[in-house]
C-alpha cells in the first residue's frame, strides 16, 4: 500500500473542498424552502453541529490509530461481522460518489450542455478523477493546495461583485421563520455535507501530526461551512428567499446577476468553475476512499488495480442511481435516517467496539499498542 502522507494544512483544504463540493449546488434551495429568509442561519446552525461530529470522528481516528475505517472495523468486529458493517460503509461511499458525479452531470445538462447525453459528461469527468486517484493521496493533497487559491478567489470575486445588488430587506425579519423551521433547515446541511465527512476517515490515517489534524479539520469546517452559509446568505439577499427556493441552481442564477457597469456580465460560467473544481475534489476523495476501502475489504495489495473497473461501475451507477431530478429532490429532503446511520451509528458502533477491545487488550498485555494487536489477532 502507498505510504504517502499529507500535511494537516493540505487536509484542511481537502475538508473545505469536500464541504463546498456539490453542496453548493444542492443545499441553498431546500434551505430557503424550509427556513425562508433564515436559511443561512439554519446553515450556520447545521455547521455548528458539525463540530460535534468532527470531535467524534477524531476520537474514532485516535482510537483506531493509523488504520482506516475499513481495517479497523474488520479488526474489531472480526472477519465476518466486521465485513458486513464494512459492506454498508463502502456501499455508502460508492453510492455517494455516484450521486456527486450525477450532480455535476445534471447541472451541466440543465444549464449548459442541454443536448449532450449525461454519459459523456460523466465519462470525461470520471477519466480525470481516475487519473487523479491513481496518483495517490499525496498528489491529491498537493493539487488541492494549488486549486484552493482559485476557488477562494472566485468565491470572493462573486461576493464582491454582488454587493451592489444586496437587499438587506430580504433577510428580515431575522429569526422570523421560527426555531422549528430553522432546525428543519439545519438537517439539510447535516445531510449534505456534514454527515458525509465520515468518509474522510478513509484518508485521515495519511495525515501527519494528529494533534494539528484535529484543528485542521475544525478550521476546514469553519471555512468550508462559512463559504456555504455565505452562498446561501447571498442567494437570499440578492434573489430573495422565494426565488432561491424556486430556482434549481440558485448559485448559478446568482452568478448570472453579476453586472458591473454593463460590460462585465454573463460571466456565470467562470464562477461555475468553483463547483466544477470542488465537485472534482469531493469526487476524488470519495472515489479514492471507495477504492482503498474495497481493496482492504478484499485484501488486495494495491487499490490501483480496482480504479478502472470501479470507475466504469460508477458511471453506470450514476446514470441509474435516480431516475429523474424530482426523485433526487425528494431523496435530499428525506435522506436523514440513511445519513445518520452511516454518519453516526456505524462510526459510533466502531468507536465503542474499539474502546472495549482496547481496554480488554490493555488488561492482558499492557505494553502493546494498536498495531501489534492486529498482528496478534491475525
Amino acid at each position: 500500500m502507498d505510504n504517502n502522507v499529507i500535511s494537516p494544512r493540505q487536509f484542511m483544504y481537502l475538508v473545505i473542498l469536500f464541504l463546498i463540493g456539490s453542496s453548493i449546488l444542492i443545499v441553498p434551495t431546500p434551505l430557503a424552502k424550509s427556513a425562508d429568509q433564515d436559511g443561512w442561519i439554519a446553515s450556520f446552525l447545521g455547521m455548528s453541529i458539525g463540530v460535534l461530529f468532527i470531535l467524534l470522528y477524531h476520537k474514532i481516528a485516535v482510537t483506531i490509530g493509523d488504520r482506516t475505517f475499513i481495517e479497523a472495523t474488520i479488526d474489531v468486529f472480526g472477519k465476518w461481522f466486521g465485513r458486513v458493517i464494512c459492506f454498508f460503509h463502502l456501499a455508502f461511499i460508492y453510492i455517494l460518489a455516484s450521486l456527486v458525479l450525477r450532480n455535476i452531470g445534471d447541472f451541466m445538462t440543465t444549464q449548459i450542455l442541454e443536448e449532450t447525453p449525461l454519459q459523456f459528461t460523466h465519462i470525461l469527468f470520471m477519466l480525470v478523477v481516475i487519473l487523479g486517484a491513481r496518483l495517490g493521496i499525496e498528489v491529491i493533497g498537493r493539487s488541492a493546495e494549488m486549486f484552493i487559491t482559485w476557488i477562494s478567489l472566485l468565491l470572493l470575486f462573486l461576493f464582491l461583485f454582488l454587493t451592489p445588488q444586496l437587499e438587506m430587506d430580504n433577510v428580515q425579519p431575522m429569526f422570523g421563520s421560527g426555531i422549528k423551521s430553522m432546525i428543519q433547515g439545519s438537517f439539510t446541511v447535516m445531510n449534505t455535507p456534514v454527515l458525509e465527512m465520515v468518509v474522510l476517515l478513509m484518508i485521515y490515517p495519511k495525515v501527519k501530526e494528529k494533534t494539528k489534524a484535529r484543528q485542521a479539520w475544525l478550521l476546514g469546517l469553519l471555512i468550508g461551512g462559512g463559504f456555504l452559509s455565505m452562498i446561501t446568505l447571498f442567494s437570499i439577499l440578492v434573489l430573495g428567499s422565494d426565488l432561491t427556493a424556486l430556482n434549481e441552481y440558485p448559485v448559478y442564477e446568482l452568478a448570472s446577476k453579476i453586472n458591473i457597469a454593463g460590460f462585465l456580465e454573463g460571466i456565470e460560467i467562470i464562477v461555475a468553475i468553483v463547483w466544477m473544481l470542488t465537485i472534482f475534489f469531493k469526487l476524488i476523495i470519495l472515489y479514492y476512499g471507495a477504492a482503498l476501502g474495497i481493496a482492504q475489504f478484499l485484501n488486495i495489495e494495491d487499490y490501483r488495480v480496482l480504479l478502472l473497473p470501479l470507475g466504469m461501475g460508477l458511471i453506470v451507477l450514476s446514470i441509474i442511481v435516480y431516475p429523474d431530478v424530482a426523485y433526487f429532490e425528494t431523496f435530499v429532503r428525506n435522506v436523514f435516517p440513511y445519513k445518520i446511520m452511516h454518519g453516526l451509528l456505524l462510526p459510533f458502533l466502531l468507536l465503542i467496539g474499539a474502546l472495549i477491545k482496547k481496554k480488554t487488550n490493555l488488561k492482558g498485555k499492557p505494553a502493546l499498542k494498536g498495531k501489534v494487536d492486529r498482528n496478534v489477532q491475525e
Binding site: 440543465t110 450542455l113 459523456f120 428580515q172 422570523g176 422565494d242 426565488l243 453586472n259 456580465e265
Partner: protein, 405 residues
C-alpha cells in the same frame, strides 16, 4: 525522436495519438454564429381562440455589421402561434431562416390582452428555460398590438429593442416617471403576497403604417416613434390600469427609485413664471408601526436638489427664498406621493408599494393575520408622508436673469 513517448512501442504511440482525436470532436451541441437567429425582442399576446401569438424581432447581422448599409432593414420580424409559448417558438422555424437564440434578448413586450388576462403562466418558460437570461426588461404595450410596436424601425439606434431598453433606462434615471422591471423581479413580485407588481408601458406615437417602412428612418423627424410610457398597475398577475405621470413619479419617490428628476411649480399664485428644481438624489424609507387595530405606514423621503430654472423676479441671495422654494418643492413631492397612494388605494385597491412586505418584516405576527386578504386591509392603512428637501446650490449665476439691480 527523443520525447517522453519514445519508450513506448510505435503501435501504442499511434493508439494514444488516435485516442486523443476522440476528444477533438468539439462540443456536442455546439451552434455556430451563422446558425443562430439572434432575437432581441419578444412580443407575446393571446389570439381570439386563446392561443399564444409570438412576435420575435431578430437582428439581421449583415446589416448591423456592415460599413455600407443597404436598404434592407436591420431587424426582421417573425410571427407564429401555438397553444404554448414553447410550441409557438419552435413553430417559428417554419418562417424564420434559423433557430431562434434567446440569450441576447433585451426586451419582452406583453400584449394588452394578455396582460389583462394574467401573465404568470406566460413567465414560466421565460424563467425556466436556460437559454433565457434574467437580464431583459418586461414591458406592456399600451393600446396597441405588439406586432405594430415591434415593426417600428428606429433611427438613432439601429436595433429597435436596444432603443427601447436604452430609453427606459435613461428615462428612469433622469425623468423618474417610469421604472424598468426585469424578469426575476416581476416573478418575485407576483409571487409575493405583500406587493403587487408594476410594469413599464410602451406606446407608439404617429402612424402605424409609417413605422413599418425604412422611410421612417429617412426623415429627421420620424413619422412613427416608440415612446416609453408610465407605469401599469397589476393585481396579482392581472393588469388593472395605468398610473398617470404624477402618480408614476410618486410611486418611484416612495420606492426610492428616483435618482434624478425635476420639479416644476409656479413662483406665485398670480404670476405666470415658474420655478424648476433639479433633484440630484433621493433616499426613501418605508416604516410600519401598529397603532390600535390598524397598521400605519410612514414614508420618509430625503432629497437633495439644485435650483435649475427661475422664470420670475426673486431674490435668490436670501437664504429664506431658497427655504421657501424648498418648502414648495416638498409640497409638490408630497402631492405626487399622495396621488400615487390614493390611486393605489381607491382606484385599483392593490398594494403596489410593498407596504405589506414592510409589515411582514416589522410585525410578522400581525402580518400572518392579514396576509390572506391584505388588499382589503391596505385600503384602511394610514400612510404618513414626510419629505425633506435640501436645496444646496443654484447653478452658475447668483440671481435670476430677470432681476435687475
Amino acid at each position: 525522436m527523443n520525447n517522453n513517448f519514445s519508450f513506448l512501442p510505435i503501435s501504442k504511440r499511434l493508439f494514444i495519438t488516435l485516442a486523443c482525436l476522440l476528444f477533438l470532436t468539439g462540443c456536442w451541441n455546439s451552434r455556430e454564429l451563422d446558425d443562430l437567429g439572434i432575437a432581441v425582442a419578444l412580443g407575446i399576446d393571446k389570439t381570439q381562440e386563446g392561443n399564444y401569438s409570438l412576435v420575435v424581432q431578430m437582428i439581421n447581422p449583415s446589416e448591423i455589421a456592415t460599413e455600407a448599409p443597404s436598404t434592407r432593414p436591420p431587424v426582421s420580424l417573425y410571427q407564429s402561434e401555438g397553444e404554448t409559448i414553447f410550441e409557438a417558438l419552435r413553430k417559428m422555424t417554419l418562417s424564420a431562416p434559423r433557430k431562434i437564440y434567446m440569450s441576447q434578448l433585451r426586451l419582452l413586450i406583453i400584449g394588452p390582452g394578455l396582460a389583462e388576462e394574467g401573465i404568470l403562466p406566460t413567465l414560466d418558460l421565460l424563467y425556466r428555460d436556460p437559454e433565457f437570461r434574467t437580464s431583459f426588461l418586461v414591458t406592456v404595450a399600451k393600446d396597441i398590438e405588439v406586432e405594430a410596436l415591434l415593426s417600428v424601425i428606429t433611427a438613432y439606434e439601429k436595433i429597435p429593442a436596444n432603443k427601447i431598453m436604452d430609453s427606459i433606462i435613461a428615462a428612469e434615471s433622469h425623468w423618474a416617471a417610469t421604472h424598468g422591471v426585469y424578469i426575476d423581479q416581476i416573478v418575485s413580485d407576483i409571487r409575493s403576497p405583500g406587493k403587487s407588481p408594476i410594469l413599464t408601458g410602451i406606446l407608439l406615437e404617429g402612424s402605424e403604417e409609417a413605422g413599418n417602412n425604412i422611410s421612417n428612418v429617412e426623415n429627421v423627424d420620424s413619422p412613427a416613434r416608440i415612446h416609453v410610457d408610465h407605469l401599469s398597475v397589476f393585481k396579482g398577475d392581472r393588469m388593472l390600469g395605468w398610473l398617470n405621470e404624477d402618480e408614476s413619479k410618486g410611486y418611484n419617490y416612495i420606492l426610492g427609485n428616483v435618482k434624478s428628476t425635476l420639479i416644476n411649480f409656479p413662483c406665485e399664485e398670480k404670476e405666470s413664471g415658474k420655478i424648476g428644481i433639479e433633484i440630484l438624489r433621493t433616499n426613501a424609507a418605508i416604516d410600519a408601526t401598529k397603532t390600535g387595530s390598524n397598521p400605519s405606514i410612514t414614508v420618509t423621503l430625503e432629497a437633495e436638489g439644485n435650483v435649475g430654472e427661475i422664470q420670475c423676479d426673486l431674490d435668490l441671495t436670501k437664504p429664506e427664498t431658497l427655504q421657501e422654494i424648498a418648502d414648495k418643492a416638498e409640497e409638490d413631492i408630497k402631492t405626487k406621493i399622495s396621488a400615487a397612494i390614493t390611486a393605489a388605494k381607491e382606484q385599483y385597491q392593490t398594494d403596489i408599494f410593498g407596504f405589506g412586505n414592510t409589515i411582514a418584516r416589522k410585525n410578522p405576527t400581525y402580518w400572518k393575520e392579514v396576509e390572506k386578504n391584505w388588499d382589503e386591509h391596505f385600503k384602511e392603512t394610514v400612510v404618513k408622508v414626510e419629505v425633506k428637501l435640501d436645496i444646496r446650490r443654484k447653478g452658475t449665476i447668483v440671481q435670476p436673469v430677470q432681476k435687475k439691480g
